[in-house]
Symmetry: C2
Subunit: 680 residues, 2 copies
């Protein structure tokens, strides 16, 4: 396992590849043959949302990274489009949620529908109060654009997607996988010409972008891409990497190299998808809604940006053959549209403009392994596939690499221990299994025929459907994820009572607090930027109470001591907040406290070039213009005594303890960080 | 008047210039000599905030425009930096308030300070509830960047600032000024070389950007720019324009060509300005505050983005000479910094990083004329100068051209009557006069010595100062502007009672309403985009009441009639909302009403290509996630009977009337628009 299962395709320097690279050598060199070799910390294969999220982490953490994709262009229309609350929180931590929020269509309300197309109920699309964001819809092309801009900015142009590049072999040197030096993974890359890497997309002269070539009804095209290559076109190169992230989709090349499998079943349900500007008298066309017709199948309406509406349409006329595959050639926009008209009858439906269309076969599968030696990882559709209707695919895929990226980055930098890498699989496998279970239940309800009456056991009761829809909303928000115990997540019931609104293993929820120095209100989550730093949130309680003030002073003295995790984690000469940032939220009145007088200096560190730091101490107090966040009450923290919370770089709550439990927090960081370790 | 007072500097084609251009001729041609001639609808001279705002309107309205500036680069640091609420509302209507809001420092609170530096009070910096924005601080260079990006996007790259271009003569052909055809204004432009147009900025090897060369302590440099020009470098061209906007600053070249003057006095007060990262134990360094020392003068603290703080420092050591001018050579960063240390004593002040510095002499002046023949206009510092401390200059300058730009654009397009152009001077002169009066009072209070006691009549009482500070905040927000009656603003007291929260002449305030079709909450002002369209806001009241429904129906029948202002204003073949957009806010429950059933089609027009318009009907109802805007109550409109409000393209309330008063609204548009006129 871990050895490439593909025959090597390189001709001149197979020996060089098999020998691996000198880890200390120059980062780019010619071998004895004509083939370029180079070293890189992280190689990302695939530049869809999962790959781009990984690249964003590397850009924010300053990791030497390459990202390649076999296609020669990004996505411009269609594909995935739903953005859940948690994805927007993540985008905000990277710095571009505002761009998505501004351009997207906002999902506010949806009416359930029954067999004769009566509106059966109206419900808010996002559970009220769950997040500071609500779910929105925006097509994948725009989201990829935001990522590309963000990666460019934070990597200072050093990380750019290399398109038209196809990996052809992958070899892991098992003797090197457990050391921190060296580049144990070797990948050969084939640079395709422009023509080779352009997908054969449009059929029968149609001008409408057709997504079938990316659908699960299409066949693999790696072999085609290689065999159709003109003689002499393109170049081969060899890359030696510390880590390789396979974000290359449902038919992942990386997964095949590792010999891993997806496990699960396809169903007989085939669905079509169309993005159109509808001309219709159906009254709820601008709301997400599900329509179950009595005999003609189901349809889902997803209103989108720029007057577009996405329709998911059950295609009852198409069925899989004996091998379980449906015949892709039968599926046309016209056929999908006719099916949607039947379902919507007696309402009228027409369109002049279609932006994109595709079709897919529903199936749920999860990978048997998520990584090889914690050196090559699979993420996104490469380890879980399911139907797109619940709007989960892109979100869960991005959240996979949002979980993985900072771990790889911190280990590559020598800040974190290699052992934390195994939490990727334990944490994300559970999410993937929950996802396909959710999707399985949801798809069955959705593709099934409505029940005629309570005695109709084969049909789907609208009550059951509505209930699933509501429960699904919480799951679909991405906010119900609760990572299990590990070196990174310390679950101790007694301590968790100190902050009942901050369950360990779940994302740090956001409420508004004020900056002590200038009074500006901030959603606290806005201060938890995705920059690779852990954070210690000191709920300092009532600092005007002398007893509490003394507790805060003692905690800070320990924090400031030469043996503390904070001092030991900080590289020599670096600012004290380089690896771990201390943020304070206190509960006294803002105007009765002074930053420089009432708070130990370690909470607002002094820098000889720029003075004191005015952006680290916050207060749970009323704002002038934006109300009262009531953060202590919402986080369930005692306003007098406070508590201490460790937050991971991905905003998940990692540890909760009393101010006196310095040993506990010290132990947390000693288990996961290389304190006094190597810094690169 | 109106003839150029400068000697012509062109050598080859003086005759061509004097003859003016053929209005119907080609838009670009060579004359008998070597000089290029061309026609343009609007020529903007000066690419500071006033000029860029004007160019933004032209870009949004699709007007053929050129904008030139004598400098060869935009601003990168320093200069003006305060952005008031109204400016942010305007940026939002153009589409980039979010960029400013995200990057800026937010002004939340400021403590008044007294002679011995005790905190005398804390007050919110922006009056609570005044606007959906609060004032922020961000340097002029970023704001110019947002404008440049916005102009590029909306003009599809056709409007770009041409830098290093100096106008050398301006001639108005008075025989053509009142016709709608032809290009009555002729301007010669000198293209400078890179070297010629680079300001002589940095003195004595300092690396800190010095703004003195743009200060009012510097001399004019037009003559230098021309005389230092190397022989043969650069080219001359001639531009024939319909309209010329002089946005070329306090020493406006355009103003001088017109022979106009600024009227007013300079004072003896000299102030220095520094943008530094302060290292200080002064506790309120991250809040806007004013410090009056007993004997060492005054200082103002303006916290900014990126840890910077701007200090305005009174320079008591520098005084003007007999001619009223201060000696610029005496003023150095070191001298300014020493002055600020004295004022802040006993608090310590240091810095390592200085971003920019300058100095200026306080004076208040207003132009005697704002336009010549309503063909050449002056805006911004070209018609009013004052001290920068109140953060008004950039705001009022931008608001000048936000008032002027759409009027020129709509007249140039043949949509509006030429008569509306005279409202520019009547509306903005009042604002300029209010501004210098405010500044005069504020500067005297600020530069004066604090009163020793109540008997000290020469000193400034801290009570009076605080009172002025508070009142100033309302003025400084830009939201107290109330334009006088004209063809564009119809003030009839009886009708104004129909919408007490929407005073005619003031900007349309913003409250949240929901989109009827999808339930999304919008700040209503977000729907009043700066696209050059007038808007009719139909407060439809309770549409479920049959009597009211009938009133709405009748209003819509009139609106839809062939003689209505709406039909007559719309060019043949254009969408019905091209010139005037009808927006509806009703007061029934959203879920009890249906867009297609309960509202006449003219309120959500049908288009054969894209169906009904889902973005024109709103409701005053509670949202799921963002509370209740309570718009009818806040606008002071009766929830049963409603009313009709006309809003100008710049968001000012223009007319208020009953639904039955169709004659009134028809008369409004007949007075200001060319109904059934020329469309270009």
């Amino acid at each position: 396992m871990g050895e490439s299962s593909a025959a090597p395709v390189l001709r001149k320097s197979d020996d060089d590849i098999a020998n691996g690279a000198d880890s200390g050598g120059p980062s780019q060199r010619q071998t004895g043959g004509d083939i370029l070799e180079s070293n890189v910390d992280v190689l990302i294969i695939g530049a869809g949302p999962a790959g781009l999220m990984a690249a964003a982490w590397m850009a924010h953490c300053g990791i030497k990274t390459r990202i390649v994709d076999k296609r020669n262009t990004k996505i411009f229309s269609g594909q995935a489009d739903g953005l859940q609350c948690r994805s927007l929180e993540i985008f905000d931590s990277l710095g571009f949620a505002d761009r998505a929020w501004k351009e997207a269509n906002h999902m506010i309300e949806n009416p359930g529908q029954d067999g004769v197309i009566r509106r059966s109920d109206r419900i808010p699309d996002t559970i009220v109060g769950l997040s500071r964001f609500q779910q929105i819809v925006l097509h994948q092309g725009r989201i990829e654009r935001f990522f590309l801009d963000n990666i460019k900015k934070f990597s200072k142009d050093t990380i750019q997607v290399e398109r038209g590049v196809l990996p052809t072999s992958l070899v892991i040197d098992e003797t090197k996988v457990e050391t921190n030096d060296g580049y144990p993974v070797t990948v050969s890359l084939q640079h395709l010409t422009e023509e080779d890497s352009t997908p054969k997309q449009q059929v029968s002269g149609s001008k409408v972008p057709d997504g079938l070539f990316r659908s699960n009804l299409a066949q693999d095209d790696e072999a085609d891409l290689l065999s159709e290559r003109k003689p002499g076109s393109g170049n081969v190169e060899i890359v030696h990497a510390k880590y390789v992230l396979g974000c290359d989709g449902a038919r992942s090349w990386t997964r095949k190299q590792l010999g891993f499998e997806l496990e699960g079943e396809a169903t007989d349900f085939i669905w079509g998808v169309m993005d159109i500007i509808p001309i219709t008298d159906f009254p709820d066309i601008r709301m997400r809604c599900a329509i179950h017709s009595a005999d003609n199948g189901s349809l889902m309406v997803i209103p989108r940006e720029n007057k577009l509406v996405r329709l998911y349409i059950q295609l009852k006329e198409v069925t899989p053959d004996a091998s379980g595959r449906a015949d892709r050639s039968k599926i046309t926009p016209d056929m999908i549209f006719r099916a949607s008209r039947k379902i919507l009858h007696p309402y009228k439906l027409d369109y002049e403009y279609c932006d994109w269309w595709t079709a897919y076969q529903i199936g749920q599968r999860v990978g048997n392994d998520f990584s090889s030696h914690n050196r090559v990882f699979l993420a996104g559709d490469a380890v879980h596939t399911h139907s797109p209707k619940a709007g989960q695919g892109m979100n869960v895929s991005m959240q996979d690499t949002f979980n993985l990226g900072w771990k790889v980055a911190l280990v590559a930098k020598g800040i974190a221990k290699r052992t934390i890498l195994s939490t990727y699989e334990t944490e994300r496998r559970q999410v993937a299994q929950d996802l396909i279970e959710f999707d399985h239940r949801f798809s069955r309800l959705f593709s099934g025929r409505p029940a005629k009456d309570v005695m109709d056991a084969e049909g789907v009761s609208m009550e059951v459907f509505k209930d699933a829809f509501l429960k699904g909303n919480l799951f679909a928000s991405g906010l119900s994820v609760n990572y299990g115990a590990s070196d990174l997540v310390i679950k101790k019931e007694s301590d968790e009572l100190l902050a009942k609104g901050l369950p360990v293993g779940m994302r740090f929820n956001s409420f508004k607090v004020l900056n002590q120095a200038d009074g500006r209100p901030w959603h606290f989550q806005e201060r938890l930027r995705a920059d690779g730093r852990f954070r210690v949130v000191l709920f300092a309680g009532n600092v005007l109470n002398p007893v509490q003030k003394e507790r805060v002073r003692r905690f800070c003295t320990d924090l400031d001591g030469s043996g503390s995790f904070l001092r030991k984690a900080t590289p020599p000469g670096a600012p004290i907040d380089s690896v771990i940032e201390i943020l304070t939220i206190h509960a006294s009145k803002r105007i009765e406290t002074e930053l420089l007088k009432d708070f130990p200096e370690i909470l607002h560190p002094f820098d000889e070039h720029i003075g004191w730091d005015y952006d680290k101490v916050f207060v749970d107090d009323e704002s002038y213009h934006e109300g009262f966040g009531d953060a202590y009450r919402n986080y369930g923290v005692d306003k007098e005594r406070g508590c201490v919370v460790v937050v991971r770089p991905d905003q998940y709550v990692a540890w909760v303890g009393r101010l006196e439990d310095f040993t506990g927090i010290q132990a947390y960081f000693e288990a996961c960080l290389e304190l006094g370790g190597i810094y690169m």
